[in-house]
Amino acid sequence: MPAMDREAGPFGKATPCIAGNAGSHQGTARYSFFYMNFSLTRAPPILWHNRVLTRRPGKSMLRVLTIEDDAVTGQEIVAELSSHGLDVDWVDNGREGLSKAIAGGYDLITLDRMLPEVDGLTIVTTLRNLKIATPILMISALSDVDERVRGLRAGGDDYLTKPFASDEMAARVEVLLRRNSVPMAQTRLQVADLELDLISHEAKRGEQPLSLLPTEYKLLEFLMRHAGQVITRMMIFEEVWGYHFDPGTNLIDVHIGRLRKKIDAAGQTPLIRTVRGSGYAIAEPV
């Protein structure tokens, strides 16, 4: 796929359109600090692979708690998230995990569904009963939709089944970490000269209005809400279509291709980038 080779080079700052008024809407100071840093400072070019949350000056690294009983998987999660500039604590049993999670201070928890001592589902339920709202990514060997529903209903924020690709996991962690970054009250999204009106559902590139099909609109909105972040194909399928199986082939790619043709018309700087092996991201060009 020629598209795969495009994104190889360094990629500049990823600037969510709401950067300007981010501070006033953030749920926590850490988010807003990180966000402002990310959007306002000209950070050195970041490779796509080690993209994102890194390069924050000093102290306030985002902290992630990983509760995972399999050592290798746990180490892998730690390694992957660390490479994204996150500070990861890893515990290998449910009891310790629960007490650490309650002790707090984490921005996100990755939680294995099946754990010795205290079950993953119990941890989520307990945390939510204690009004601890830390985003939780559940990682489970149980892929059944019922299990997913149960996990999410108990208070999990996202659900990933084993075997998983670590970049998929990292992409979901990032989306969860920044979930509150675009306030719901937002009525307009913008990436470079691409604008999306969330009320009238109109899109335009520069002065050129774009006619989008409903699905294309949903897809674009999803990408733009997470501008600068890698969105995997599976996440797109889950979010835009609402299904949780593997549609196989290159269906999502085809839909992205459609959208790309409309947004990045000939002669314009492409905004949607393919991230090798992982997914897509919409961001301002360098």
Binding site: P163, S166, T215, Y243, P247, V254
Partner: protein
């Protein structure tokens, strides 16, 4: 799945046995009667000749008046229909006795001859049919013809024949009645066995053949088959268990493998010679993981009869969504994707997500197997049996011999490996269809390619 019908009875083992038995009975009784007849008739013949010989000897030495008196006296003692005589002069003119004419076939040599047609006498009491006769020249030059009827032989023959007929009819008529009654019970049991076997073939491996507790051959056979089924069920569980265990056990190493490859890829940096190989390795691992998820998904679908997600849903919205989802892919492959829906469609009871997945698989396959410029049609129809959702394409189609097999796990067309991942997708479809109690029909359609119809029965007991 209906099993081949048992015979209507003519070829059942009872019938065969009875037929063989009847045949042997008839054959043996005929032989027995034949031998009896042969022996009896031989003996009677001997008696006839003997008595004739006695009379011949007696009369041979008499002459004149003495002979006449002796002949008349003998008539008083002997039954006329058995014994008769005729006395002739040298010119063969009749002189006395019942026989008025020398039989033509009778040789005048003093030896006993067996005549097939005896006498042309009008007297009904005279022997008419076969008889033994002798012509002798008595001492005074006259000819004496002595005849002894074989009538007793005929009587014996008739008795034997009657015995045979009665015996046969008394054997065969109750035999046929007995056969009719006898064959009914085993056939009834065979039908019961057939019904059970059909359930087992349909997939209910916990079912067993009925045993009548009569300890006969059918029970023995059913017991043997049941023992075999126990073993098969056990093995199936084992295989399934092994399959699932492998899948579960390999989950973690696969995750690790993918992660480590990904990590090495990160370190290798772009443009390095390893990078390309690593990308390939990662992509292969992703394929592997996708297969794995598919496998696990099937066993989950098969294991759990989950109906929690079942709702009444509108098939129109579902099908339109599917159409929109696949339209870009079809257009990229220069395939015309049509959606034909009637004015009104009944609602469907099922799991929306699973039905979407199943139909997505069918549609994805149809598009995959249709060459550029071809057509794919998705159509819904309704009749008394419920809703039918049909996906057909103008591709190569599925050979008739493979139509049942394509729904099996890991099935691959024998005509070369056209596309990867052919079997698993359809197995997922089959599992979903089973879960809903629907039916999937694989055939060929008017577009020339494969035609897969999902028969959605209006309501299955949930």
């Amino acid at each position: 799945m209906p099993l081949p019908n048992p015979s209507k009875g003519w070829s059942s083992s009872t019938s065969r046995l009875l037929a063989l038995y009847s045949f042997l009975f008839v054959a043996w009784s005929s032989i027995l009667m034949g031998v009896l007849y042969f022996e009896v008739s031989g003996y009677l013949n001997k008696l006839t000749r003997h008595s004739l010989l006695q009379r011949q000897h007696l009369f041979a030495h008499m002459s004149g008046k003495q002979l006449d008196d002796a002949l008349i006296a003998s008539q008083a003692f002997e039954e006329r229909s058995f014994d008769a005589y005729g006395l002739f002069d040298a010119q063969f003119n009749p002189l006395g006795g019942q026989i008025r004419q020398v039989p033509a076939e009778l040789g005048l040599d003093g030896k006993i001859h067996e005549l097939s047609r005896c006498l042309d006498a009008e007297d009904p009491r005279m022997p008419r049919d076969s008889c033994d006769a002798v012509a002798l020249k008595v001492a005074d030059g006259r000819w004496l013809v002595l005849v002894r009827d074989n009538g007793s032989l005929f009587v014996v023959t008739r008795i034997i024949l009657h015995a045979l007929l009665w015996g046969l009819s008394l054997t065969i008529i109750p035999g046929i009645a007995g056969w009719y009654l006898l064959r009914r019970r085993p056939l009834k049991r065979i039908r019961a066995i057939q019904a059970s076997a059909e359930l087992i073939v349909a997939g209910d491996l916990t079912h067993r053949l009925p045993i009548a507790q009569r300890r006969d051959e059918l029970d023995m056979l059913a017991t043997i088959v049941n023992a075999m089924l126990d073993r098969i069920e056990h093995l199936m569980h084992e295989v399934k268990g092994v399959c699932d265990n492998i899948a579960h056990d390999l989950r973690t190493p696969l995750t690790r493998l993918r992660a480590q490859l990904y990590r090495i890829r990160q370190q290798a940096g772009d443009g390095s010679p390893q990078a390309e190989h690593l990308d390939q390795a990662i992509s292969e691992t992703d394929t592997l993981m996708a297969r794995f998820r598919g496998l696990l998904r099937i066993s989950e679908l098969e294991d759990r009869q989950r109906r929690a997600g079942f709702v009444e849903l509108d098939p129109r919205a579902l099908l339109e969504e599917l159409h929109d989802f696949y339209l870009p892919l079809a257009e990229d492959g220069e395939i015309h994707l049509h959606l034909k829906l009637p004015q009104s469609l009944p609602s469907l009871h099922g799991d929306r997500e699973l039905l979407f997945e199943a139909l997505a698989n069918l549609l994805g396959n149809a598009i995959k197997f249709t060459p550029a410029g071809g057509q794919v049609l998705m159509r819904a129809t309704e009749d008394a049996q419920g809703l039918h959702i049909e996906v057909q394409d103008s591709g190569a189609g599925i050979p008739e011999s493979e139509r049942e097999a394509v729904l099996r796990r890991f099935y691959r067309s024998e005509e070369g490996h056209r596309h990867a991942g052919f079997g698993l997708g359809l197995s997922i479809v089959a599992a979903i269809v089973d879960l809903h109690g629907f039916e999937l029909e694989v055939g060929s359609g008017e577009l020339g390619g494969a035609r897969l119809v999902l028969h959605c029965r209006s309501r299955v007991a949930a």
